[in-house]
């Protein structure tokens, strides 16, 4: 007898394969050519466009959209990729509702922005459908740079360095490159193995060697890296997770959300992935939303997100919150966990209601319990393996605006470094900018004005 959403405990195969396929398809399906033209035509080609300012990688949005309108989507892609080499992924995962599309004048005017994200995807998909890489390397400089972490920050840094003709070695702890693109973001945002395809495409520039399963401080020590390379870039993300010190967290069924999502992303067959009947998620960020939605899509009967403050304080955007509720996830706010109850395996989670007081949160004294076969903790990630010699600020590697750390010859960017939001697009911007600064620092004779070596599109 097959399992169903009502099967007690934690079980795999609650839904048929067809239902799972349907649930995990593209959240925002690609635009076809006509749809793209209609969507692009809505852009006003604003002067000094506010959407551009709102994009952490400063993509020239009106220009690329005009290039779509005039029938040259590959030129549009080049406009995007010049600024953001992971423009394909960003088109899929950026919370555009709080970035470019929030700033779009048509959002201001009509509450309906130009669909910048989907147009970006149209352009980059068109480009990536060609079997060639649009950028070439400048003449080999003989300089070698080590990049630690093959996430968005590390990849963006490596690509820009390769364009300048430097040799890059990327070390990554995981078996596959991509960082959270591969192990983190929700499946329905990046379907059909796009993360790996994009990395492969990016490496098409040449001059980048990637070493997987190579963890810093478990084999790679920073001193040696500095010694053997002209520069080092750290893009190691936040590999650790915050733990909650409450009674019962050791019970079977209390799981870390990020780890579960990584398993989900790597699952060959989702019908083999077990999920609880009643799932409770603790947290209020993107991770909480993602784990909750995907639990529901896997067939959990009930999924409840519990966040300790009000809705307006959740770091997940209201768009993400609406997505969750539209999939049947319940969001409970102003409540924090006090204990997890069970006998070997979790059965219930107990919460107390909270209220905001001047220096934090206070309990109202009222508690409630939710039935739970599985409790996901999604209360944030933290820096791990950060070399002790580096100055840390607020739990992150301290960097200046060019990505320089406190150690000479060492740069850092992405989630592991200070500054900016923890977003894919921010990581790309920081990796790219650090590469520009590294190039300036190591390339004798390089002028101050950095010109991107633009190769003909036919170079691949």
């Amino acid at each position: 007898m097959a399992n169903s959403p009502f099967t007690p405990g934690i079980a795999a195969g609650r839904l048929s394969s067809e239902a799972l396929d349907r649930n995990f398809t593209d959240l925002h399906p690609p635009l076809d050519k006509h749809e793209a033209l209609v969507a692009a035509d809505r852009c006003y080609f604003c002067h000094d466009a506010p959407c551009v300012t709102a994009c952490p990688t400063t993509i020239d949005i009106p220009l690329f959209i005009r290039q779509i309108v005039t029938g040259i989507p590959e030129a549009a892609a080049r406009t995007i990729l010049d600024q953001n080499i992971l423009g394909g992924m960003c088109a899929r995962v950026c919370p555009t509702e709080t970035l470019c599309e929030e700033a779009c004048v048509r959002e201001v005017a009509e509450g309906r922005p130009v669909e910048i994200g989907r147009l970006q995807r149209f352009a980059t998909d068109t480009m990536m459908a060609r079997d060639s890489h649009p950028y070439g390397r400048a003449e080999n400089t003989g300089k070698r740079v080590a990049v630690v972490g093959a996430g968005p920050a590390g990849l963006a840094c490596a690509h820009r360095l390769a364009m300048y003709g430097h040799e890059v070695v990327v070390f990554d702890a995981r078996p596959r490159p991509g960082g959270l693109n591969e192990y983190g973001v929700a499946s329905y945002k990046t379907v059909d193995g796009f993360a790996q395809a994009e990395v492969e495409w990016l490496l098409g520039i040449g001059g980048i060697k990637v070493e997987q399963s190579a963890r810093l401080s478990g084999g790679l020590d920073l001193d040696a890296l500095i010694r053997d390379h002209d520069a080092v870039f750290l893009g190691i993300g936040l590999a650790g997770v915050n733990a909650l010190q409450i009674e019962g967290v050791d019970l079977q069924g209390v799981d870390d959300a990020v780890e579960f999502i990584a398993d989900l992303r790597q699952a060959e067959d989702l019908s083999n992935l077990a999920i609880g009947r009643n799932v409770v998620v603790v947290g209020g960020g993107m991770t909480a939303i993602d784990v909750a939605v995907q639990s529901k899509l896997l067939g959990a009967e009930t999924v409840t997100i519990v966040y300790r403050r009000g809705r307006d304080r959740m770091s997940a955007s209201s768009y993400e919150q609406d997505l969750a509720t539209s999939k049947g996830v319940r969001i409970v706010t102003n409540a924090r966990p006090v204990r997890v109850v069970g006998d070997g395996a979790v059965q219930e989670a107990e919460f107390e209601y909270t209220r905001d007081v001047p220096n934090g949160l206070d309990s109202t004294g009222e508690t409630f319990r939710l039935a739970a076969d599985q409790v996901f903790m999604a209360i944030g990630q933290k820096l791990e393996d950060g070399p002790g010699t580096l100055q840390i600020e607020g739990g992150k590697i301290k960097v200046d605006e060019s990505g320089r750390t406190s150690l000479d010859g060492v740069w850092a960017g992405g989630d592991c470094a200070t500054g900016g939001d923890d977003l894919t697009v921010t990581a790309v911007a920081e990796g790219r900018d650090a590469a520009e600064d590294i190039h300036k620092a190591i390339h004798a004779g390089a002028g101050t004005a950095i010109e991107t070596p633009r190769q003909g599109i036919e170079s691949g």
Binding site: V38, Y44, C46, H47, D48, A49, V105
Partner: protein, 434 residues
């Protein structure tokens, strides 16, 4: 509800919306359906001489210009006159007119430039009971190479001659259809009048190439790798047509000559504009070819509502109303001063007005912090460009400065009196020519 019925050169129709001579009027089946849909009249697709009919190309005959969402803005065609036998057309005209006696049926004609050819065909048309004829002196492609169509329409003497032949050989009203492919439209209109024409109709299509295929290097539409110029029509030609209609309407030499307005009429509003600039009715082709016959319902309701709102009881009340306000540049009031005004509540901050004025005009818009755009009165010449590029309707308006106010650009007081170029101190000729 206003009465839309009208009488044009003695031909009555229940409304002023006629289908122009073109594919929609090329056969009985179409015309019946058009009349059933509510069209007031048709000008039958141009007939040629008796004998083997002309042939059309067997490849594509249209090119197009599109706006957003593939909205058709202009159509270009290389079609010739009817390619169906004369007898069949005449027979069909006869039955249709018999079955729809209240609708206007005018027959478009194009035969060689010899009197006998016209003498031969006119009685045949008269025999159908048709209400009138339209002389196709406008077709700019194909037929013109054979000395017909616009080849006649471009030579006022020929127009006059052929018109006279027709007037002498038929009792039917004669409408002369003009080509826009000429420098001054008033000359062919005067020639028509001199030849005794009852009316002119215009415009026929504008010579055009809509696009070039950048893979094959052939103009479109491409017939086996080659293209030819065609005739352009549809919304894009409306401004050209409106001007030509109005130029004739206000020309003292053709005063009183009825005009059938054609070219880009797509909505009731376009039709109303043609009427106000002197057209006694309108003819429509592309709009019907784009959306089908049903559009006439919108035209009828729109024109009627607008006439009711304005208190115009009949179409005649509307015809020519805007003509007295159509003047020469030299008579425009130079003491009329306006300034652009931006409604900050409506402004969405796109900055297009700024880009337009700053890059290409008078540097009269300031881009202030928080993307607040403001007009600098000291620089604004009131050109209106910002109004036209602003994506928000009524966000920028042109505000008239009251007499006594100071125009900050010139530093001069605004004067209440009318004064034009003919008396302006900068004008070297006391009373300058055009």
């Amino acid at each position: 509800m206003a009465n839309l019925a009208c009488e044009f050169v003695g031909i009555r129709s229940p409304n002023p919306f006629w289908l122009a001579s073109a594919p929609p009027t090329d056969k009985e089946y179409n015309v019946r359906r058009a009349f059933d849909a509510g069209w007031g009249g048709v000008v039958w697709k141009t007939l040629g001489e008796e004998g083997p009919p002309i042939v059309n190309v067997n490849g594509p005959r249209y090119g197009a210009v599109w706006g957003a969402d593939r909205r058709l803005l202009g159509l270009n065609n290389i079609e010739l006159i009817t390619d169906r036998p004369l007898e069949i057309n005449l027979q069909e005209i006869k039955t249709v007119k018999r079955d729809y006696p209240d609708r206007a049926v005018v027959v478009s004609l194009m035969v060689p430039c010899v009197e006998d050819a016209w003498k031969t065909i006119l009685p045949l048309v008269e025999d159908t009971g048709a209400d009138g004829i339209e002389l196709n002196f406008g077709c700019p492609h194909g037929m013109s190479e054979r000395g017909m169509g616009s080849a006649v329409g471009q030579v006022p003497d020929y127009i006059e001659m052929v018109t006279r032949w027709c007037k002498q050989n038929t009792r039917m009203p004669v409408i002369v259809k003009l080509t826009p492919n000429i420098t001054d439209i008033r000359y062919p209109a005067r020639a028509s009048k001199a030849g005794g024409a009852d009316a002119v109709s215009l415009i026929n299509t504008v010579s055009s190439i809509t696009s070039v295929n950048l893979d094959t290097y052939s103009p479109e539409p491409s017939i086996d790798g080659k293209g030819t110029h065609g005739g352009f029509c549809g919304p894009a030609v409306k401004p050209i047509a409106l001007n030509m209609v109005a130029q004739i309407a206000r020309d003292p030499e053709s005063e009183g000559l009825p005009i059938s307005g054609i070219g880009g009429v797509t909505t009731w509003r376009d039709a109303a504009e043609f009427l106000t600039l002197g057209a006694g009715n309108v003819q429509i082709c592309t709009a019907a070819m784009t959306y089908g016959f049903k559009i006439v319902q919108e035209m009828i309701s729109g024109l009627g509502d607008w006439m009711d709102e304005k208190g115009h009881a009949s179409v005649d009340d509307v015809v020519g109303r805007a003509v007295p306000n159509f003047t020469d540049w030299q008579y425009l009031n130079l003491n009329y001063v306006t300034k652009a005004r931006i409604d900050q509540d409506l402004c969405i901050g796109c900055g297009r007005c700024f880009a337009a004025c700053e890059d290409t005009s008078h540097q009269a818009i300031a881009m202030n912090p928080e993307r607040r755009f403001e007009v600098i009165d000291e620089e604004c010449v009131a050109c209106n460009l910002c109004v036209n590029v602003c994506p928000v309707e009524d966000c920028i308006t042109m505000e008239e400065l009251a007499p006594g106010a100071i125009d900050l650009r010139t530093g001069q007081d605004v004067v209440a009196d009318y004064a034009n170029w003919t008396t302006h101190p900068n004008n070297p000729g006391a009373c300058a020519a055009e």
